[in-house]
């Protein structure tokens, strides 16, 4: 862990007053990548809307969101493959906003790997180095190092067409790393791989990043990937950053409606605050009255809020346990997911509720479909979100 990043203040006063700082001082804030005010307008569409993000040195950042949210555009802007309407980008303190793509040293691992079909593995890897005057022995040494790191030593002379998906990915990564960049961009590199390979590669990729101690910017729409590898996750939606935080923070404390819906399995109930007490907030929803802990969620009577309940926090109610919220719903079906079972239920108002329980299928099957159940969850598991701004 970089001691500098731990000591970094939350906001740099120098930036706000416009007092010039020396480059060394900027570097000392130990941010590998700073994205400031980046916007991209396309006709009347705001593809990216005032994106601000600082990536610490050696950090694994995952940018996550549905297709069309702008995550890939942002990555391409960082690489210099696309332009932006306004904003600036700094790499280790140096302003790279005006640099063309081939001078940025922000290598990318493509979704399709984009390996050069007419070159073999070794030639692909050394491509970047051979563009400028180079020392043959040096290059050879670097290839050996990087090949060893990516377990490609035995394949250096193989043509690209003979490689498997996983091997291609490793070549793509080796090719990017050989230029010793400070930052690596990855655009959904796992989507072309088999599922079981993906899980293995996740671990390898994380290990690689930690060994090299460089920043990885990883774009994906897959939550599992993002959460298992990233130090911090950025959730994007329609050109905006909805939330930035550690995986745990995002999962347990979604900051917006979108994040609550997109991440994990959450049930959302819209309602209005009807009473506030010392300890609790009571919300009235069509599905019933619910309570949340007050000190975590400051609200006033009359606020329109959304109650968020993770599906894993629901369970079948045993009669009248205090400290728990309840709702009634009818069981409509199951989905069996290995060690988990997802229950699909419907309230009287026709609203879908999901419950996830860790149990075997035969236990679930003992409950007949269309039976009326009462579900409960602990008050402290309730999350409240302010009114959604449309």
């Amino acid at each position: 862990m970089n001691p500098l990043s731990a000591a970094k203040p939350q906001s740099n006063p120098s930036l706000q007053t416009g007092v010039p700082l020396t480059e060394n001082a900027i570097a000392a804030t130990a941010h590998d990548l700073e994205i400031r005010g980046v916007s991209k307008q396309f006709g009347s569409l705001m593809v990216l809307n005032n994106i601000n993000l600082s990536v610490k040195a050696g950090e694994f950042i995952a940018i996550m969101g549905p297709s069309g949210c702008g995550k890939t555009t942002l990555l391409r802007i960082i690489a210099g493959l696309e332009g932006m309407t306004s904003g600036e980008i700094r790499l280790q303190g140096k302003d790279i906003t005006h640099l063309p793509v081939h001078r940025r040293n922000t290598p990318m691992v493509w979704q399709s790997f984009a390996l050069f079909p007419h070159l073999n593995v070794q030639q692909n890897i050394t491509f970047g180095l051979t563009l400028i005057p180079h020392n043959r022995a040096d290059v050879k040494r670097k290839v050996q190092e990087v090949a060893k790191m990516m377990h490609l030593e035995t394949m250096l002379n193989r043509p690209i067409s003979q490689l498997s998906g996983g091997q291609k990915q490793r070549v793509a990564i080796a090719r990017a790393l050989i230029t010793e960049p400070k930052i690596l961009l990855l655009d959904e590199p796992m989507s072309a791989l088999d599922p079981h390979l993906r899980v293995r590669m996740q671990g390898e990729l994380k290990r690689l990043q930690q060994t090299l101690d460089i920043s990885f910017i990883y774009v994906t729409h897959n939550q599992n990937e993002a959460f298992s590898m990233a130090d911090r996750v950025v959730v994007m939606n329609q050109g905006n950053i909805d939330q930035v935080g550690t995986p745990t923070e995002i999962y347990s404390r979604p900051a917006t409606h979108f994040v609550a819906e997109f991440v994990g399995n959450n049930n959302l109930f819209d309602g209005e605050v009807v009473s506030v007490s010392e300890k609790t907030v009571t919300v009235s929803c069509p599905q019933g009255r619910m309570q949340a802990l007050w000190h975590e969620q400051p609200h006033q009577v009359g606020d329109r809020v959304t109650v968020v309940v993770p599906a894993e926090r629901l369970s079948l109610a045993s009669a009248g346990t205090p400290g728990e919220n309840t709702i009634n719903a009818t069981l409509r079906g199951f989905e069996f997911m290995g060690s988990q079972v997802i229950y699909f239920l419907e309230t009287d108002t026709g609203y879908e509720v999901r419950m996830i329980r860790q149990e075997a299928l035969d236990q679930s099957l003992s409950i007949p479909i269309n039976s009326k159940l009462q579900l409960s969850w602990k008050i402290q598991d309730t999350i409240l979100l302010g009114e959604q701004i449309q």
């Binding site: 010039p20 700082l21 480059e23 210099g80 306004s86 904003g87 600036e88 005006h98 063309p100």
Partner: protein
């Protein structure tokens, strides 16, 4: 060294983006544009301009006059009778192209749907083979075949299908056969490619919904191949209108057709040019032909544009 930090939010522009117009773009396009301008556009423009020159004392005088065109149109129906030549050319071109498409379409269909996948490529190459021979010599060979005592007639008489030799030479039917033989490989290629790119699942879906073979063809395949038909038509018409050799070698210069015994417009132009008496007027004639072709080309483009 101190550097000013820029205030966030300032308007910024990367100096070079991949999509931008760079020097490379102009350098890449320049040779083709320059070459075509000098050796294609320039001669054509020059040709059209000559059509506006006037003739004084048997010498061509640069200038701008409509004398040639008024001369041509005054002779449209009499003396040189250009109108009849144009009509003949259009008639032959339209019938040849229509016939060509009608005959090549089933061929392309058969190639696409009956022939096993592996053989298709080979047969397609064989179908394009005529391209690899000299056009003139092919016409010459057709002469041997179509002559009154040629291959075809000899065969027909031997089989006792006819008693007298069928006259094909020196009629526009001869011209058509020559043209067809020139056009067929390309039209087959165009139609085959269009058919090949048709979404096969649409055909399967149609059959599933109970369509007969005929209905599947008429209502699914044919409409989808419309662009290919339009391209073939434009190509066929323009080539037919511009062709000189078939009309002369097989059509005998003034081949007989339904319309009468008139020469093709292209032949007229060639003859006038060879006689070399009035270059400006010949150029004006050529310009008229170009004009007709442009109309066909533009119509064809408009037709395919409206489809997509």
């Amino acid at each position: 060294m101190t550097k000013q930090i820029s205030i966030p939010g300032k308007r910024s522009r990367i100096r070079w983006l991949p999509q931008d117009n760079s020097l490379l773009k102009y350098i890449c396009l320049a040779p083709a544009v320059i070459y075509d301008s000098i050796f294609f556009l320039l001669p054509l423009v020059f040709l059209v301009w000559i059509g506006f020159w006037s003739v004084e004392n048997y010498r061509a005088v640069p200038g701008f006059s409509l004398a040639n065109y008024s001369d041509i149109f005054s002779q449209f129906f009499v003396k040189s009778r250009y109108a009849y030549a144009i009509a003949q050319s259009l008639w032959v071109a339209i019938t040849t192209t229509a016939l060509g498409i009608l005959l090549c379409y089933p061929f392309a269909m058969a190639l696409m749907f009956l022939v096993p996948e592996r053989l298709q490529r080979l047969l397609l190459v064989l179908a394009i083979t005529p391209f690899w021979t000299s056009y003139i010599l092919r016409l010459y060979a057709w002469q041997t075949i179509l002559n009154n005592n040629g291959l075809l007639n000899t065969l027909l008489i031997q089989l006792k299908w006819v008693e007298q030799p069928v006259t094909i030479m020196f009629t526009q039917w001869g011209t058509r056969i020559g043209l067809l033989h020139y056009l067929a490989p390309i039209i087959i290629l165009i139609l085959y490619l269009v058919l090949r790119n048709t979404d096969r699942s649409l055909l399967g879906a149609a059959r599933n919904l109970g369509a007969t073979q005929w209905q599947t063809f008429w209502r699914v395949i044919l409409p989808l191949s419309k662009p290919g038909i339009v391209y073939s038509a434009v190509f066929g018409l323009i080539i037919s209108l511009g062709d000189v050799l078939s009309g002369i070698i097989l059509g005998g210069g003034t081949g007989q057709s339904v319309l009468g015994k008139f020469p093709l417009f292209s032949t007229v132009i060639l003859n006038e040019y060879a006689a070399s008496t009035n270059l400006p007027r010949t150029s004006a004639l050529a310009t008229i032909l170009i004009g007709i072709m442009m109309i066909i080309l533009v119509s064809g483009l408009k037709l395919t544009e409206s489809e997509s």
